[in-house]
Symmetry: C2
Subunit: 697 residues, 2 copies
C-alpha cells in the first residue's frame, strides 16, 4: 500500500458545487417515492433480507473489495476461492436458503470457483441421478466433499451438442465405461470450476454400445485425487487461461486417455445401460433438458433489467455530478459549467437505457410467471395422468397443452437474445457516457460489463437462437393460414394482421399507448408472413433467410417487452401499490422505450405500412425530446429505486453521496499498489523497479 | 511454467479436416493477387521495412509476447518499460527514422511508458519552445535524460480546456511562476507516461498576471528527482490505477503545492510574459493547436482501417476454420459440419466490416493527402506573405484560402468520430463472431479492442465533435442560401440539392455506383437544411438540436467514406496497379459498404425522398445477399492482403496457418502459469494454494 496523502493534498476539495450537493438537488427536484417504488419492484421482505446479508458480508474482511481492481489473475482467483469458501461456511452457519445464498453472491458480484458446483453440478446430479446415485454422489457433493462441475462444451464443439467427440464406451466384460478423448478437439473446454477447484465432473460423452453411438449422455467422473488434488492417472486437466472477463472463475479443460468408470457412474434416471444385457434403456423423457434450458433462459431475461440498471445507476449519478461547458444558448453573465445530464445528447444515450432497465424488469417478471404457470399446468396434467409425480413430463406427453411449452420456448429464446444483448451493449453505452473516467476500472462498469459478456453467447448464442424463434413463428403462421391454430396470443396477432392488411393499419403511436403495442405486433406479423412467403412460396434456402429470421426474432422480442411493460402499468396491483404521481413517470418510460425502438427500426415500421412517415419523424424529434425533458428531473430517483448499495456497485462514479472525485483520488493515490514502487526510467539502465530506493533515502 | 503435456496428449490432433487444410482450400478458391494488392495498399518499400523490423523484434527476448496475456498490471508495466527501453536502444543502434520507430511500435502493438514522451512531449517542446528552450529542454529530452509527458487534462476537466484549474502565477519580484493546484479537481489526470516514468512534464496551466487570468498556457516543469526518481517537494504524483485497457501505460495524476519555476520554463514561442514589465505577450498564432488537433484526428482516421482489419483478419480466418452444424437444407447423406463462414448470418456480421476496413483505409489515405495539400498551400501563401517560414500560419492569416482549413477541420472531426466508432464497435462484433473462443484472451481481439477504446473519447469525444461538424455544415448552408459560398465540395452538394429538391431525386442505388454516392450526398443536404430550419426559422435551442446534429455529422462522415472509396476505385493509378480481376472484388466491397449503411439508416434515406421503399427492400435482401455470396470466396485472401504477421496479431484464432486448436491448447496447457499451482478446494480449509504439494509427491 502506498503512503497516505500529504497534508496539503488532504486539505483539498473539489471545486464548485460539490457532488453531494448536486445529487441532493437532483433528489429534491422530484417527488417520486423511491422507497415505495423499490418495495413495489422487490418487496420489503427481499429488501430487508438484502440489508441483513450486506451487513454480514461487508463486515467480513474476506469480502473486502478494496483490492479487487488491482489484482492479477492468480490473486483474483485466490480471493474468489477464499470468498466462495467463506460464503459456504456462512451459508451453513446462518442456514441460508438457496435464495439467500444467491442474493449474497449477487452482492459480491463476481463469479467464484464454486459457482458451477453450487448450481449446475448439484442440479444435474439431483435431476439426472437415481436415488442410489443421490446417495453415492449427490450427498458428498452437497457437503463439499466432492467439488464438481458440468463438462459438456468441447474445444471444437459449442452449440452443437450432437457433435461432441468424447466417448464413453461400454465394456460388457468388466461392466465399465471407458471415457476417452479421441482428438484434441474433444477436450472439454470453458468448463467453469474445472480449472482449479473441481475433483469431480459430470462429463457429457457419446455413449457407445457394441460399437454403435447412442448420443450424448451424462457420466459422473472423478478427475483429481481427494487428498493431493492432483489429476488422476490418464486425466489431463487444467485452467484454460485468461479471458476478457470472468477471471475469478477457473474455466478449465479436460482430456481422458481410456479412463474406466463403473456402471453406476452413468447418471441414469432417464436413460441408461442394462448391465446384464448391455442393452440401451431409452429415455422416458428426452425433452427434459429443453425445460431446463427454458428455465435458464428465463432467469437470464429476469436478471437483464438489473444487470443493465447497475450501469444506468452509475452513469446517471455521475452525469448529474459531472459538469462540462456552458449551455451554448446560456444568457450573458450566466456562469458555471452545465451538468452533463442536461445535454440532450447525453439524455438520448442514458434515458432510453433507464427505460429499458424497467422494461426488462417487468418482462423478466412476466417471463418467470409464465414459466411457473407452465410448470403448474404440466404438473396438473401430469398428476391427472397418474405418472410419477416427481418427474416433469416432456412436451410429447402433453399434446393438448403443449402449445404453452412451445410458446414459452420461443418467447424465452427471443427474449434471452434481445435482453442480454440490450443489457450488454447498454452497459458499454453507459460506460462511454461517463467520458474519460468511464474507462477507469474505478467506474465499476467495465469489469461488470466484461463479466456479463459471455451471456450473449452461452445458453444459446444470441444469433443462433433467433432461428428457433423464426421456426416457431413460421409454424404458427402456417397453422393460422390452414385454420388449425390454437387460440393463443400469436395467432390472434396473425389473424388481426390478416383481417386488416388489405384495408391497412393506422396506428396512432403518438397518441395512444395501446396503438403503440399494436404497431409492434403488426410489424411481427408483417415480417413473419414475408419470411413465410420467401420460404414456402419462393422456396428460398434456410441459409439465405437467416438474416431475415434474426430481424424477425428481434421484432418479436421487442413486441413482447413493449407489451409486458404496457400490461404491467395497466395492472390493478400496480395502480394500487404506487402513488398516483409515480405511474405517469413509468408511463413516460414506457413511451420512451417503445418510441426509441420504433425509431431505431423505423424502416421496418414503414415498409409494414404500420405508421406514416410523418409520425416517425415526430416520434424521432418532438415526442422523444419531450419525453426526455419530462423524465430528466426524476432520473436520479428512478435509479435510486433500484437500491444498489455502494458496496455492491464498487464504483467511484456511481456513489450514492456523489463524492466522485474524492473517491477516485483516494483509490488512485492511497490504495493503488503501483504507487508503492519506484521505476528507473532511463533507457540505458537494465534495472526496472527500484523498490529499495525509498529505504536508501 | 506448467510441465509439458503428457505423451498421449501430444499425440492428439484436431478431428476432421485440419485448420491448415481449410485455409489452404480457402486460398485456392480465389485468384485474388494478394501480394499485388498488399503492394498497392502499402508499397513494397514499407512491406520490406516491416519485415526487417519484425526480424529484429521477434528475435529479441525482451519482446517475447508469450507471457503477455497472463501478466498482472505491475508485470505488464514492467515488461512494457523494458520494451520501451530496448526499443529506444535499437532505434539508436539502427538509426531508425521516426517512421521506422513508429512501425516497430505497431508491431509490438501495446502502449509503453515512453509513448507520451516520444510523441507528445518532444513534439510540444519542439513546436512551442524557443531556440533557447530547445537547447535547455528539448535536447536532454531527445537524449532521454529527461523523460516527459504532456499534462493537460484534469480530474474535473476533460474536453473543456478553458475550464482547467491549475494556475501558474507570475511573481514579478523573483521572476518566477508559481504552479498551484487550488482544488482536488485541479489534479492532472489520465496523463500518459506520468504515473511512473516521467521526471518532467509540460503542464498546461492558467496563466495569472497581476491577479488576472490569461487562459491556459504550457509550462515546462520538473516533477521527480533525476537520481532517486522520487517526487520533488510539494509535488504529488502517481499512477491513476487500472483501466479497462491500456494497462501497459502509466497514466498518472499530478498536484502542485505552490511550486516555483523560473521564467524560462514557460514555453514561449508563441506567447509569453515580458520578464521586465510582467506584461503578457500575445500569441502571434492562437490557432496552431487547431492545426495539431486536425493532424492527430487525421492520423486516427488513417489508422482506423488497419485497426479494424486486425479483428476482421482474426474473425475471418477463424470462421473459415470453425465448423458447426450441418446446413439445414443439406442433402441426405451429406456429412460433416459446415464452415461457420458459410452461414449468411455470420457473413452479414463480418463481411461489411471487411468492406469497412478497406473503405476506412482509402478514406484515411485521402484524409492525409488533404491534410498535406492544406499544409503545402498554407506554406506557399505564407512564403508569399514573407513571414517566418518556419512558423505555420493560423487560419486568420489566410482568409482567402481559409475555406480549405475549415473544410479540413470539419471533415477530420466527422471522420474521426465515425471511423473510430466503426473500428471500435467493429472489433467487438468480430470478437463475438468468434463465438465462445472470442472471449478467450488468446483470441487476440479483446485486448486490442480494450486498448483501442479510449480513441472514441480522446482527441475530441466522438459525440462532442459532431457539434463542430454541424456548425460547419449550417454555416456552409447559410452561405449557399445567401449566394456567398465558395465553390467547394459541400456547396456543390447543397446547390444540387436545392436545384432538384422540388422535382425530386431518383437515385438508382442498385444499378449505378455514382448514384449510390449521390444518395449519401443528398441525405447530408436534406438533414442540413432540416436542421437549419429548426435553428434559424423555428429558433430551437442548440441543446434541443444536439441529437439531430449527431445524426447529421454521421451522415456527413458516411458520405465522405463512400465518396472516397468510390473515387479510389475510379482512380487511374488504382486501375493500372491492380489485376483486372481484383478491381471487381473491391467494387463489390464498395457496394456492400454503401448498401450496409444505406439500409442501417434506411429511414433517413426514405424521409429525404432519395430512394424508394422498394429499393430499400431490395438493397436489404437480394442485393446484400448477392454481394455476400460474391465476396465470400475471396474473404480469406482479402484479409491476407493486410499482411499482419502472426507475431503482431498474437492470436490463436487468427493464425495464418489455421492451427487454431493446437495453439489454444498449447497456450492454456503448457504456458498458462496458473497450471503450475495447486488449489486446496475444500471450504473448511484455510489454506488456498498448495505450491508445495507437488514437491511432496
Amino acid at each position: 500500500m502506498p503512503p497516505p496523502n500529504p497534508d496539503w493534498v488532504k486539505a483539498l476539495t473539489p471545486s464548485g458545487p460539490q457532488g453531494s450537493e448536486l445529487l441532493a438537488q437532483e433528489r429534491a427536484k422530484s417527488d417520486l417515492n423511491v422507497d415505495q417504488l423499490a418495495t413495489f419492484l422487490f418487496t420489503d421482505e427481499v429488501l430487508e433480507r438484502n440489508a441483513k446479508l450486506l451487513e454480514i458480508l461487508s463486515s467480513n474482511p474476506v469480502f473486502d473489495k478494496s483490492q479487487n481492481y488491482f489484482r492479477g489473475r492468480k490473486e483474483r482467483l485466490e480471493a474468489a476461492l477464499a470468498r466462495a469458501k467463506a460464503l459456504r461456511q456462512l451459508s451453513v452457519q446462518h442456514q441460508w436458503s438457496q435464495e439467500e445464498y444467491e442474493a449474497a453472491n449477487e452482492l459480491i458480484s463476481e463469479p467464484t470457483p464454486y459457482g458451477l458446483h453450487a448450481f449446475m453440478f448439484l442440479k444435474t446430479l439431483e435431476e439426472q441421478g437415481t436415488p442410489e446415485q443421490h446417495k453415492l454422489f449427490l450427498e458428498p457433493a452437497q457437503n463439499y466433499k466432492y467439488i464438481g462441475c458440468y463438462a459438456q462444451t468441447e474445444l471444437g464443439h459449442g452449440s452443437n451438442v450432437r457433435g461432441l467427440e468424447t466417448t464413453a464406451t461400454w465394456d460388457s466384460k468388466d461392466k465399465t465405461f471407458t471415457l476417452h478423448s479421441p482428438h484434441l478437439t474433444a477436450s472439454k473446454w470453458w468448463i467453469g470450476s474445472l480449472g482449479k477447484a473441481a475433483n469431480h465432473a459430470v462429463v457429457v460423452a457419446q455413449l457407445i454400445l457394441d460399437g454403435k453411438p447412442y448420443g450424448p449422455h451424462p457420466f459422473f467422473v472423478q478427475i483429481r485425487d481427494l487428498k493431493t488434488h492432483q489429476p488422476l492417472p490418464n486425466v489431463h486437466v487444467g485452467d484454460i487461461g485468461p479471458k476478457f472477463g470472468y477471471n475469478t472463475m477457473d474455466n478449465g479443460f479436460l482430456l481422458f486417455n481410456h479412463v474406466k468408470i463403473p456402471h453406476v457412474n452413468m447418471l441414469s434416471r432417464f436413460s441408461g445401460v442394462d448391465p446384464q444385457t448391455g442393452r440401451y434403456i431409452k429415455p422416458s423423457n428426452p425433452a427434459l433438458v429443453y425445460g431446463t434450458l427454458t428455465y435458464v433462459r428465463s432467469t437470464i431475461v429476469f436478471q437483464s433489467g438489473s444487470v443493465l440498471a447497475r450501469g444506468v445507476t452509475i452513469a446517471t449519478r455521475y452525469c448529474a455530478v459531472r459538469r462540462q461547458f456552458q449551455d451554448r444558448d446560456a444568457a450573458e453573465g450566466e456562469s458555471g459549467e452545465n451538468q452533463v445530464l442536461n445535454y440532450t445528447m447525453v439524455q438520448h444515450r442514458i434515458l432510453p437505457l433507464l427505460a429499458a432497465s424497467y422494461a426488462l424488469f417487468f418482462t423478466g417478471r412476466s417471463m418467470i410467471n409464465l414459466y411457473k404457470a407452465n410448470q403448474a399446468k404440466m404438473a396438473q396434467q401430469h398428476a391427472r395422468s397418474g405418472s410419477d409425480a416427481k418427474r416433469l413430463p416432456g412436451p410429447e406427453e402433453l399434446n393438448p397443452g403443449s402449445d404453452l411449452l412451445s410458446d414459452l420456448h420461443a418467447i424465452s429464446c427471443s427474449l434471452k437474445a434481445f435482453a442480454s444483448t440490450t443489457a450488454a451493449e447498454g452497459l458499454e453505452v453507459c460506460r462511454r457516457a461517463c467520458g474519460g473516467h468511464g474507462y477507469s476500472s474505478f467506474s465499476g462498469i467495465g469489469s461488470w460489463y466484461a463479466d456479463y459478456l459471455p451471456t450473449v453467447t452461452w445458453e444459446g448464442d444470441n444469433y443462433m437462437l433467433t432461428q428457433q424463434v423464426a421456426r416457431y413463428l413460421l409454424k404458427s403462421a402456417r397453422a393460422v393460414l390452414s385454420g388449425k391454430a390454437a387460440d393463443n396470443s400469436i395467432s390472434r396477432v396473425f389473424n388481426e394482421f390478416i383481417r386488416r392488411k388489405d384495408v391497412g393499419a393506422a396506428f396512432d403511436v403518438l397518441g395512444n399507448d395501446q396503438h403503440l403495442v399494436d404497431a409492434f405486433a403488426w410489424r411481427v406479423a408483417f415480417l413473419t408472413f414475408e419470411a413465410l412467403k420467401h420460404r414456402d412460396e419462393d422456396k428460398q434456402s434456410w441459409n439465405s433467410l437467416l438474416i431475415d429470421f434474426w430481424r424477425l426474432s428481434t421484432a418479436y422480442a421487442q413486441y413482447q417487452v413493449v407489451k409486458n411493460f404496457y400490461e404491467a402499468l395497466q395492472d390493478e396491483t400496480t395502480k394500487s401499490e404506487l402513488d398516483p404521481s409515480t405511474l405517469p413517470v413509468l408511463r413516460q418510460l414506457f413511451q420512451l422505450f417503445a418510441l426509441h425502438y420504433l425509431t431505431t427500426h423505423a424502416s421496418e415500421f414503414f415498409t409494414s405500412a404500420a405508421i406514416t412517415v410523418r409520425q416517425i419523424q415526430l416520434a424521432r424529434t418532438k415526442s422523444t425530446l419531450s419525453l426526455l425533458e419530462q423524465i430528466r428531473p426524476h432520473a436520479v430517483r428512478l435509479v435510486d429505486a433500484w437500491k444498489f448499495p455502494d458496496w455492491q456497485l464498487d464504483s467511484s462514479l456511481g456513489r450514492y453521496d456523489g463524492k466522485v472525485y474524492e473517491d477516485m483520488f483516494h483509490r488512485a493515490s492511497e490504495v493503488n499498489p503501483l504507487n508503492d514502487v519506484v521505476f528507473d526510467p532511463y533507457p540505458d539502465s537494465p534495472i526496472l523497479f527500484r523498490e529499495d530506493v525509498k529505504a536508501k533515502l
